[in-house]
Amino acid sequence: MNNFLAPIVSVLAGGALASAGLVGLISSQTSAPEQSPANAEAPAWDYGATE
């Protein structure tokens, strides 16, 4: 039984970790930094945030 379950658990855990890592990486690379120019042509910075 153990020989049967171990690979499945490993694949699921590994898959979950990889997915979380990938989502985190993409999110950190694509979301705008908190205080950065809105775009390169006309930089503007947030005066504040309501949330």
């Binding site: 205080q35 390169a40 503007a44 947030d46 005066y47 504040g48 945030a49």
Partner: protein, 580 residues
Amino acid sequence: MGDTLRCLTVQAGAKGVAVRLVPWLWSAALAAVILGPALGPGYVLSYDMVWVPDLGLGRDALGVGSALPRTVPSDAFVAVLDEVVPGMVLQKLVLLAALVVAGAGAARLVGSRSLAVQVVAATCMVWNPFVAERLVIGHWPVLLGYAVVPWLLLLAGRWDVGSRMPVALPLLLVVGSLSASTGLATAVALVAAGARRDVRRWLLLGALLLAANAPWLVAGLAHAAAATSSAAAAEVYATSGEGWLPGPLAALGLGGIWNAQVVPGTRAGFLAVVALVVWVVAAVIGLRRGSAGIAPAAWRAAVTCWVLGYGVAVLGWAVPGVMGWLAASVPGGGVLRDSSRLLALTAPLVVVLVARGAGVVLDLVRDRGSRRVTAAVLVAVPILCLPDAGWGIRGQLRPIDYPQDLLDVRAASRAVPPGDLAVLPFSSYRVPRWNHGHPVVNPLPRLVDRDAVVNDELLIDGRTHPGEDPRARAVGEALALPTARARTEALLRIGVSGVVIEQFEGWDEPAFVGDALLANDLVTVIALEGRAGGQGHDARVEGAMPAAWVAWLVLIAGGATQNVIHVIRRMILRRRATAG
């Protein structure tokens, strides 16, 4: 026998003075802890708070520019005073004075002989979310108004019909009216405390308020056509919830500012709920003392101020659309859009009730030693409920030295031919590395020795809210033109003769036709090639403003003279009493 009596009287008098000084000294100590690093060398730049070495008295500061008079008369006040006291020192004095005067005013207003109760009142007035949040967002005129309100209630509350006007009143009104919204709060406090059933009193109050608020009032009326603001922006500025507390509950504990970035971290957690429960329970207990020890007119005024201040703050939260309509439809209606500013009016009653509640608890303790320990705990509670208000609001208020490259702009800007300057990137805010990466209003328009057109659009939550200044719109349109020649000619046509360009990584600065007068690592100053047209000065504004400034100056001069005469008279009386 006589000598002994005199000696005892002098000793008692000295002790009385020492006791009266305690709330002032305690407030000063709290202010020093709150401001912390901000009191060190350098300028503290945070959101709307920009101080520079030498602020010029430009057209916008005098209310005759094309922008709405948001910094009238506060900029003129600073521009004149920094000729006497260096800007860096003046900023620290103003911030310290606001907190110390507020604390001492609350201690006096509480109407208790107990020093512990006075110190609790001072602590609550100085160490609370309103002070912390307005310090970070840089609303120093609002904090001065906040400091003035308890003193107005005290002095105007005791000002009986037929008696002399309190000598400090004119100067308090001037200090409490350095911007439109704080002028409004100050006016409410004065009328609530000083109005009596007497026509002459009403006329006098009206004249005092008109003179104290004349600069922004007249400039605002002269800009009436453009003095309506975006409805959507009014909704953004509404009183806001903090962490677990919805807007009305946050406002009850003097919090609720719209900008979540300036809210101390503990306000988002359980501690804010604990603080509110403690304050409300103490205030309810304090109600048992009624108005004992407080002049009836001052008590009624404190209640009126609370109802109006809290009412507007909650209205802003509950029906932001109405505030938006007001800002968009009624000239000057935008004054109320940051509705939680008026919570300054609620602070005196809240603080008095909480401190009186602490007094009731203290009275339950009979043993002298236990009483001292209880008093120390009661004083510490407001501080423990908001621990991150200390040390420059947990390091958010840190001084900087302006980079020399930026300071060099001042001399270079003087060589630009007649006309205004445009400062690029054309956006109102910056997050400079040299300011510890902290947001601040673009300081360059204040650093240059010329009038500069400032973009008054605001970016909040990534969304742009339009400004009101027609010249700023025209400059924005000129900058959007495709070629250097077209941009240059369009700017010259609207009276802009030079551009100051800040360098930012990843931004390709637009080109212009002209001579570079300065080019360093941070800034380029270009004198545009050609003659600038007229700046489109408004004759109505220029005609009306001198009268407004004269009225304001007369109030200051009259107030100062009254105070000098008062001090001299007291000195003479004291000398006569000592001689007798």
